[in-house]
Every structure is written in structure tokens, then in C-alpha cells.
């Protein structure tokens, strides 16, 4: 089968920011067990900036690598900047993905969006 890039393999074998944030300000979960990918993102947000991020992923090598990569890309960014990150950006940052795995990078983008949505909903309530 088509080979993964060195960067994908690096992020798969040494995933960054794996885990759970117990007192997360936002949680985003996407995917489903039927298609074999679930991504869960935990965010700490301070002054509109993502200060801390952790993930849990059930999925293939590409799913793990895109999760790991996207956490690195959004850490320290404002929510607006984080929302601008597309699946294409994530795939490019990993030096590409095999065509059949492109949907995995889609999940990474959606997981971040889901988490930020979660945050905004919660904060609207507080107002």
C-alpha cells in the first residue's frame, strides 16, 4: 500500500499532546465507531487564546498523526486563527497523506471546530 510520509510516521509514533484535560474549557468530539475514527479534543482557553490542548483518538495511523499535528498547529493561537486551519493545511503540514486517508485530516479540522463551538455555546450561556 501507499507509504506514509516521514512526518506522518513521526507524529504517529511520537504523538504530541495525547491525553485528557480534566478541567477543559471546551471539548470537541467527531467521527464514529462505524467508520473507525473517533477524535476527541480537550482545550484550555484563556483570553481567547488556546493555551493548552490534548487529544484522544481511536483510528488509523493518519488519524493519530493528523490529531497530533493539529494540536501543535492551534496551540497558542486565537480562536479565530484556529478556525482558519483547514484539513488541507493539516495534510500539508504532514507532507501529504495518501488519497484514501484524506478524510482523516477532515476529522482533525472538524474536531477543533467542534471544540470551539462547544466553548462558544458555553460562554453564551454565561452572558
Amino acid at each position: 500500500m501507499e507509504e506514509y510520509s516521514k512526518k506522518v510516521m513521526d507524529h504517529f509514533f511520537n504523538p504530541r499532546n495525547v491525553g485528557v484535560i480534566e478541567d477543559a474549557d471546551a471539548i470537541g468530539e467527531v467521527g464514529n465507531p462505524v467508520c473507525g475514527d473517533i477524535m476527541k479534543m480537550y482545550l484550555k482557553i484563556k483570553d481567547n487564546v488556546i493555551t493548552e490542548i490534548k487529544f484522544q483518538t481511536f483510528g488509523c495511523g493518519a488519524a493519530v498523526a493528523t490529531s497530533s499535528m493539529v494540536t501543535e498547529m492551534v496551540k497558542g493561537k486565537t480562536l479565530e486563527q484556529a478556525l482558519e486551519i483547514t484539513n488541507k493545511n493539516v495534510a500539508e503540514a504532514l507532507d501529504g497523506l495518501p488519497p484514501i486517508k484524506m478524510h482523516c485530516s477532515n476529522l482533525a479540522e472538524s474536531a477543533i471546530k467542534a471544540a470551539i463551538d462547544d466553548y462558544r455555546k458555553k460562554n453564551d450561556h454565561r452572558k
Binding site: P33, C35, G36, K40, F58
Partner: protein, 388 residues
């Protein structure tokens, strides 16, 4: 990488060096066309005949019932389409199972477009069909039953003899895809009442790209390839002589020590399965514990995904396989694992280890040493499990 342990023998096997030696003359000095009159042609014709004899002997078939093809998928295609279209005046109903190889399933799907009706028999949770289901499925217009001998993923062995008897009694042709079984369990086409049987050389230490369709004499079947008179006019084209010679040699070697080989493998297999279940919590064995191929292990580790396991094992020099979506090239996990009733998320976490007689106790010890921490680490990453 300091070690290489190959545990993917259901995908393909290593070419036996003796088989390679038998092939080399036909890739080098003996380059004649078997159809030629001159000495180089005759020599090649003789080599093909010898291989045909070797295959016939291994299956307890007749010399003229062996047809060489380009591999297992071609044999399956030929058997099913060839019988279907040759006998459609008698009926257009075919019975198969929902755990067949795609070479059978997709061929049946194709036939549906031409008005054939296909019954896909379900399997029980151990991966074996219920013979009563088969009896009930038979109709007046049933022309073919195609049930695989042993499954490529979970290794379960079907009740071929009983199926053969039923088919014979009802006058229905019986085809079996024996690609995974040949050379690993004894097969006698006469005793088992098999009318058509597919096999592929590279699954028993022969070369890739060559196979056989056994067609019992008298079976009404169309030709696979029209052209010259090769394979008694049924499968035209200049023969893959070296491949055919290799297949003949490989099948003779593989079927010779079958009892001894399978005894060794069954011991190794069962011990490994027991240890995997002991050492790794939430591990499920897929398929029947006894009625399975001697070298087949297929397990699911809950909460994790198969491709991730394979990549981790790969790093440790272990070559294995999985039925997860990412390894099947689609978004769905293996149809076989779903057919035995596994939920999607568990089916995604399957690992198939297929051993050969070259696999040693030491190899299995190494596997049992490296696999538990891999599963543990992946589970730590999984959102499906509540971590402490």
C-alpha cells in the same frame, strides 16, 4: 530493524527455494513455446504436463481435469461466470455465503446485473454456515453452490463434505474456493464431491500469478479465454510455463507433509491464542477455535484500531494484517468480521496472524512480548476506554 518475522502467510508466502530452482530453466535456456513442434517446444509441453500430473495427484483428480489460470481470482471468476452462463437455460439461481472472498462476492454481484439471483448464506458466530440454511435455500432453478473451503480472514473451515453430498444429491454444481486451504489441509475432490475448485500457487510457497481451476469432467462450463487451443481450448494464451512448473512443484511439496506440518502449526497456534487472551485484557478470538486453518490466528482487541496495531508491529519487525477499514481500502471494516456479528468498533480492532512452518516458538515469544505494550499504549490514546 533487527528482526523480521513474517506473520502474513494468508496474504502470500515465501517462494520455496526448491520451487524457484525448478522454475529457473524455463526462464532461461528452455524458452520454447509449449505449442511448438520442435524440441524446445516439446520440452516445455512436457514440463506443463508434469505439473498438471502433480496437481491432479495432490487433489485426487484426473490429469485432464486440471486447468491452469492466472491465479485464484481468475479461477473463481471462471468457475462462477462460466457455469452460470453455460447453464442459464436450466436456472439462474446461485447459492454462496456472505463471507466469501471478493473474487466470489463481486463476481456474484456482477451476475445479478444479468438477471441471476444469488442467495448469500449467513454464517453462525463461529464463521461456519448452518447446513440447514443451505438445504432451505436450494430451489428448482439452483444451478451452482459456491462455498469457500476455508476463510482467508478468520480461517474457519466449512463442512465441505456435507455440502458436496447435498449438491450431488440435488444435481447442482458445487464450486469451492480452496485458495487458503490447499497445501494446508488434505483435500480429495472425489471424496468431497467437489465439481470445481480454485487454487493459487503463491499461497503454498509457489510463485504469484498462477493458479488452477479443477473442473470435474462432464461439468458444463464456458471457456475463460478464447484464442488458441491451450488448456484444451478453455483458457487460451501461451502458458506461463515457469509459473506452472513452480505451481506443480510447490503443490507436491506442500501436500506431502501436510499432517506433520499441521500438527506443528496447531500446537503453536493454540498456545499463542491462549497466551494472547491471557496477557491482553478484552481480547476476542474470531472464528471457530477448532475448525480453523492450522496457521490462522484472528483476534480483536477492543477499543483500538487495526492499522495502528500493524504500524506498531511493523516497527518491531513483525508483518501482520488486519480487517480494519483502513486496511480494507474502504471506510467499512471487513465483511467477514461483520458477518460473524461483531460490532463495527470491535471489527476495526482486528489482528490477523498467519503462521507458516517456518514460524518458530521464539517468534511467537517475541510477538507475545511486544504486542501487549503496543495494545496498552494505543488504549491509552483511545477515547473509547475510560482511562484512570
Amino acid at each position: 530493524m533487527n528482526r523480521i518475522i513474517y506473520l502474513d502467510n494468508a496474504a502470500t508466502t515465501r517462494l520455496n527455494p526448491k520451487v524457484l530452482d525448478s522454475m529457473l530453466p524455463y526462464l532461461k535456456e528452455s524458452y520454447g513455446n509449449p505449442s511448438s513442434i520442435h524440441f524446445l517446444g516439446r520440452e516445455n509441453k512436457k514440463a506443463i504436463d508434469k505439473a498438471r500430473e502433480q496437481v491432479a495427484k495432490s487433489l485426487n483428480a484426473q490429469f485432464n481435469e486440471i486447468f491452469f489460470t492466472g491465479g485464484g481470482s481468475e479461477s473463481d471468476n471462471w468457475a462462477i461466470k462460466g457455469v452460470a452462463f453455460a447453464n442459464e437455460s436450466k436456472g439462474k439461481h446461485i447459492i454462496t455465503t456472505n463471507i466469501e472472498h471478493h473474487a466470489v462476492l463481486h463476481t456474484c454481484k456482477y451476475l445479478e446485473k444479468y438477471g441471476f439471483e444469488i442467495t448469500y448464506l449467513p454464517v453462525k458466530s463461529n464463521g461456519i454456515i448452518d447446513i440447514e440454511d443451505l438445504k432451505k435455500a436450494i430451489r428448482e432453478d439452483t444451478i451452482l453452490i459456491s462455498v469457500m473451503f476455508a476463510n482467508n480472514e478468520i480461517g474457519t473451515i466449512q463442512p465441505i463434505k456435507e455440502i458436496g453430498e447435498i449438491a450431488r444429491e440435488k444435481g447442482i454444481y458445487f464450486h469451492t474456493d480452496a485458495v487458503q486451504a490447499i497445501g494446508h489441509i488434505p483435500i480429495d475432490v472425489k471424496e468431497l464431491n467437489i465439481d470445481l475448485l480454485s487454487l493459487s500457487a503463491h499461497k503454498f510457497n509457489g510463485p504469484k500469478g498462477v493458479g488452477v481451476l479443477y473442473i470435474k469432467s462432464g461439468v458444463n462450463i464456458l471457456s475463460m479465454i478464447h484464442g488458441g487451443g491451450q488448456e484444451r481450448g478453455k483458457r487460451a494464451g501461451t502458458e506461463n510455463v515457469a509459473g506452472i512448473v513452480g505451481l506443480g512443484e510447490a503443490i507436491e511439496i506442500a501436500t506431502k507433509d501436510i499432517e506433520k506440518k499441521s500438527k506443528y502449526l496447531i500446537t503453536l497456534r493454540d498456545r499463542t491464542i491462549k497466551e494472547l487472551i491471557n496477557r491482553i485484557p478484552d481480547t476476542i478470538l474470531n472464528g471457530d477455535p477448532k475448525k480453523r486453518l492450522p496457521g490462522n490466528i484472528n483476534v480483536c482487541f477492543k477499543y483500538i484500531e487495526g492499522e495502528s496495531i500493524l504500524l506498531m508491529l511493523d516497527m518491531k519487525g513483525l508483518a501482520a494484517s488486519s480487517g480494519s477499514a483502513c486496511t480494507s481500502g474502504s471506510l467499512k471494516p471487513s465483511h467477514v468480521l461483520l458477518a460473524i456479528g461483531l460490532p463495527h468498533e470491535i471489527a476495526h480492532g482486528s489482528l490477523r496472524l498467519t503462521l507458516s512452518e517456518e514460524t518458530t516458538d521464539k517468534d511467537m515469544e517475541y510477538l507475545l512480548e511486544v504486542l501487549p505494550p503496543i495494545v496498552e499504549n494505543l488504549r491509552k490514546m483511545s477515547p473509547l476506554i475510560k482511562n484512570k
